[in-house]
Amino acid sequence: MKKVRILSLLSVTALVTTVLVAVPVAANAAPACDGKSPIQSCVGATSDGAPYAMQVPANFNGTVALYSHGYRYNVDIPSAIPLIGGYKVTNTPEPVPGGNADVAKYLFSQGVAIVGSGFARQGWNPDSAIKTNVELIDTFKKQFPKTTKVIAWGSSLGGVITQGLAEKYPNLVSAVAPMCMADNVEPELTMAGDFLWGIKVLFDPTIKAGNYSAGAAGVAESYADLGKVFTVMGKLQAGISTGAWPDTSSATGKSLEAAGVPVRSALLLLGLMAGLPTQSAHFDSISGPDGALKLTFPLAVSPALAVLENGTNAAALAILATQDVENQTGGAIFDNTKTNYAARVDSERVIFNAALSGNTVIDAMLGALSTANPGAPRAVANPAAVAKMRALHMNTGKINVPTVLMVGMADPITPAGASQRLVDLYAAQYAAEKAAAVKAYQTTRDYKNPTNKLLMLWNTTPSSYTKFSAAGAPITSTPAAQGTNHCNFTSAQLVLVAKSLVQASSTGKLPSGGALNTAVRKAGDLSTNKGISVPLLKYYGDN
């Protein structure tokens, strides 16, 4: 018995791995299926050329789980670029998150099939990806007529695609789970633009930080920016210890340095202005090494290191997504000519006052970054490009079907605020539904309490997690803490989402009560507490 189960797991793992290998198939042809059992695999391509993969268990119960992968760069990255160099554009289908075998095994055990597309284009692609998914659902149903229910889920940009699918085509899906969901394109790229602009105007004015040229020239400019930003990040890392500003700093930056502004404070301010989390994979902004720095480190240093770690994680996507969307829309899309950065950090300047080195330093930095300083020129967008960007797919936040959200509280790329926005909107939606039910009762005398359609799973950070060596240096070689980094979920957490979707598609109701509490506790590092509330992306405070 044990042997069989082990073999089964190995088999699932192998199958999922197989699916992650691209198989060229003619567009819009019928799926090519291998007819194998217990798992039948099919591959094909939708009419737009997007390759897809399907896996259907022998005990298929009519439910299929459609997964949408997250953002993939749409240009190859030269190997010389640090951290992400050597990446090649791929449209390999991904029918479960990251090819996670535990997730696939669970779904197969429930008789649920899995399907996923690699999408026709990479980069910012919800418009085309939603169309691809609609076609893929139809293709699957035709291939497997027993299909009765579709559950959809996705990560990061795949979360946007999933939510968009549920908003535009609620009749196609019975439950959805946007995980570590990105916000709409403008709020997301405003966050990216704010941070890159700050890095440029303080630490290296040769960084373009947007407004890239069209076509190949713009791609080359984005490569150059990647190299420069990562170089600056390396210098900042050293500067946090030594106090030195990068030698590439602008005149504005050098004047702040001359005035005695610590570079760590400047970096933290940029992170706060953009809305980057102040907890990161290894820096909790709470812990300090034993000894003299026990209090000083979390008060004055750790938040800047968290911004450094988060900013480094997010920088590549910020640059490449900006370049991609500019390419799609025909011009610069980031505009901060009217952004009031002082207002942006009004509450945080007190919270992080020590790390920002006090009001005098904060005011000096904000003055240097204000519109009054010609040494910190603001970015000006192309109105036509902005209009085109706003015409790209945007989620309204309407919840039409049972929906599970899951996000890390300190996700640096798709901040938890993007999910909070849906939570807030759904609270208003539910209140309106309840009011309508009460009103309907007055004529029908039949009161039906609206069914809750939202389950929010917050992936929480530990109460403290920064580790220090015996010498008191922070350790950054350990795995990222839960609740930090991008889509940093465990298999158990992903399986919980899958279980919730399966239940909701079957009963129409999301898990709740004691059963949910037990499942959440077992999955670990999750909270459903309705009292949790996180800030929205900074964009929403400006508009």
Binding site: L299, P303, E348, V350, N353, A354, N359, V361, Y447
Partner: protein
């Protein structure tokens, strides 16, 4: 007959449906979070460990000493008051995490006396107790902004604001140090911003102002501060910072034999705390200090005597100092608020009780509180004292002369406030 039965059934069904709706639409009165038939649970965050904890870490013990006394005498309508204390080490991000724990895990009814301007602001921004309807009682900071009922609708201050304190200091300077060169050391955050606003209103012109960033205070920094005060030839130096800044300054000043007329703000002016850092008591001699409550050595004062006796039994061997007195005073006021909140207190009734009766709560302060339906302002003034050779603050001239003012442009006036007498046995009526 059958038809009648069907009609009756329909009628009954309709009634049941209506009842069902009523039950759904109007939930049954649930017990308040943190309140059971036998307990009222409150939560507190403050630095209990680390360099910032000195002195402050006695506050929970002081508050618990009073609550234990209260509980031993029947509690609040039979419910004992318990206090859950979390150490935030004076780190705002940790205060956020610990406050979340208090609200979400410990499920306290209210937050009590959370300490620190930055920490309370961090909690307000990130945890948002107001949105959750959680009362934040008697915050342990004098930042005037927390009295803004629109921004912090569930927050109540208790300490006089830093603006009030600076205005009263300014008045004292005008009356006693006219023509002297005045220097100011202040914390470069909202704490200091309040002070600057108060001094500006009072019309104080400084020969030199020295800001320090929170967390940067220490002996090395203090040496630099002294250089600046010496260069400006300051006759009077006001230390408007936290205890660790005051201690660093006085300690280094003693070594360098720098001895201007010191004037200490109430936050950093607790002699017991300063002496614990190794600063000789003699350095404090003749320094000017300010306090809203009686001198902690004034055993003729019925409140001081009462609290001192309870504390001595609860925490034997621990000095009765300003932090202890303020901690017990806050607990005493809280007990009265809970009692006034009704037989089954709720978060709303607790806040309503302070709004309507808070200004009449008995407490040790020698200055009035300004609670009302439109004001969450606590105490509104100070008396002025000088430190003795042993470091004890005593009123100038031997009798308390109290001054009261507001956080705006109002004048500083001598207070005519008559403090309520201690209730029988020190228990809420």
């Amino acid at each position: 007959m059958k038809a009648m039965n069907r009609r009756k059934l329909i009628t009954v069904s309709a009634v049941l449906a209506a009842v069902s709706l009523a039950v759904t639409a109007v939930p049954a009165q649930a017990a308040e979070v943190g309140v059971t038939s036998s307990e009222i649970k409150l939560g507190m965050t403050l630095p209990m460990t680390g360099t910032a904890s000195l002195g402050y870490n006695k506050i929970p013990g002081a508050a618990k000493a009073y609550f234990d006394y209260l509980n031993a005498n029947g509690g609040i309508n039979g419910r004992k008051v318990t206090l859950v204390v979390k150490d935030d080490r004076y780190v705002p991000t940790e205060a956020v995490a610990k406050t979340n724990e208090l609200i979400l895990k410990d499920k306290v009814m209210a937050l009590l006396a959370p300490l620190g301007t930055a920490n309370n602001k961090a909690v307000a921004a990130s945890v948002n107790p107001a949105r959750r309807g959680v009362p934040v009682l008697f915050v342990n900071t004098g930042f005037s902004g927390f009295a803004d009922t629109k921004k912090y609708p569930t927050t109540y201050t208790v300490l006089p604001s830093y603006i009030m304190e600076a205005k009263i200091m300014g008045q004292y300077i005008k009356d006693n140090f006219a023509g002297k060169k005045i220097g100011l050391l202040y914390q470069d955050d909202d704490f200091g911003t309040d002070a600057l606003a108060g001094f500006k209103t009072a019309g104080v012109n400084f020969a030199v102002k020295v800001p320090y960033a929170s967390g940067s205070q220490g002996a090395a920094a203090a040496a630099g501060w002294i250089t600046k005060f010496k260069a400006a030839e300051a006759d009077v130096v006001i230390l408007f910072g936290v205890s660790s800044a005051t201690s660093a300054m006085l300690g280094v000043a003693a070594q360098l034999k720098y001895a201007p007329q010191w004037m200490l703000g109430s936050v950093g002016g607790d002699a017991t705390t300063i002496k614990l850092t190794g600063v000789p008591a003699g350095v404090l001699y003749n320094a000017i200090g300010f306090s809203p409550v009686p001198a902690t050595t004034d055993m003729k004062d019925e409140y001081v005597k009462f609290f001192s006796d309870i504390y001595a039994k609860a925490v034997p061997g621990s000095a009765f100092d300003l932090n202890v007195l303020l901690g017990m005073n806050t607990a005493f006021m809280t007990a009265q608020a809970l009692k006034a909140a009704g037989q089954n207190p709720t978060r709303k009734s607790l806040m309503a009780a302070i709004d309507s009766k808070g200004s009449t709560f008995a407490n040790s302060a020698l200055v009035p509180a300004a609670y009302s339906k439109t004001s969450h302002v606590g105490l509104t003034g100070y008396w002025v004292g000088k430190y003795s050779p042993t470091g004890d603050l005593a009123p100038v001239g031997g009798t308390y002369v109290t001054y009261t003012t507001d956080s705006g442009a109002g004048a500083v006036v001598k207070s005519t406030y008559v403090r309520p007498a201690m209730p029988a046995k020190g228990l809420p009526n």
